[in-house]
């Protein structure tokens, strides 16, 4: 596609439920990144994919968080047993050959 597409754009969930966030990167971009943005905190790195493999998962806050990428394209970030502190905007970005990131519009997650 022409840009990075993320869905849903907004998600309200009850505490304890699982959620799945989807990212569809720019076609041909081998690198894919997930970041989390909280108010006043800047962007927090979560995980990096190169193709289908994730060489760096160091930013995932806990084992409730997981992500996968299939076919070198679409990625899904899953949060199990959501907590209120998981509320944030989850941003996905893709890049090609060390060029700048192209971000999606994000998924705003609210845990109530």
């Amino acid at each position: 596609g022409a840009g990075v597409s993320q869905s849903p754009s907004n998600k309200v969930t009850e505490k304890g439920k699982d959620v799945e966030l989807r990212c569809d990167p720019i076609s041909g971009h081998t690198a894919l990144y997930w970041y989390r943005q909280s108010l006043g905190q800047g962007l927090e790195f979560l995980i990096y994919f190169q193709g289908n493999s994730a060489p760096d998962k160091s930013g995932l806050p806990s084992d409730r968080f997981s992500a996968e990428r299939t076919g070198g394209s679409v990625s899904t970030l899953t949060i199990q047993r959501t907590q209120q502190e998981d509320s944030a905007v989850y941003l996905c970005a893709s890049s090609h050959q060390d060029r700048g990131y192209t971000f999606g519009s994000g998924t705003r997650l609210t845990v109530v």
Binding site: Y35, G42, L91, G100, Y101
Partner: protein, 111 residues
């Protein structure tokens, strides 16, 4: 602790005025990028600087990368309401692929 410190955190100016946003770190970066983010959208890349001392100009925006590759600045001349947004700097370490972001500067340009 942020790897990149941005200042000021907030900036509100009148249309036509100039402004400068700073991005500082104790770390050396191979490159530094500036992004602008509007409400409800993801950050959009404005520029990448890769050479110490480099100055890049994009219309009314001037970006500078420090000689020591630890700091950068963004200067906007004759700001317009359309320049309103969150400005983020991001550094690419020599030995890493992922960018580290500053907390951002919220710029408001009043008409």
């Amino acid at each position: 602790t942020q790897l990149l410190e941005q200042s000021p955190q907030f900036l509100s100016i009148q249309e036509g005025e100039n402004l400068t946003v700073y991005c500082n770190s104790s770390s050396v970066f191979s490159s530094l990028q500036w992004y602008r983010q509007e409400p409800g959208e993801g950050p959009v890349l404005l520029v990448t600087v890769v050479t110490g001392g480099e100055v890049k100009k994009l219309k009314r925006l001037t970006f500078q990368f420090g000689d020591a590759r630890k700091d950068s600045s963004l200067h906007i001349t004759a700001a317009q309401p359309g320049d309103t947004g969150l400005y983020l700097c991001a550094g690419g370490p020599w030995d890493d692929y992922k960018l580290s972001f500053g907390a951002g500067t919220t710029v408001t340009v009043r008409a």
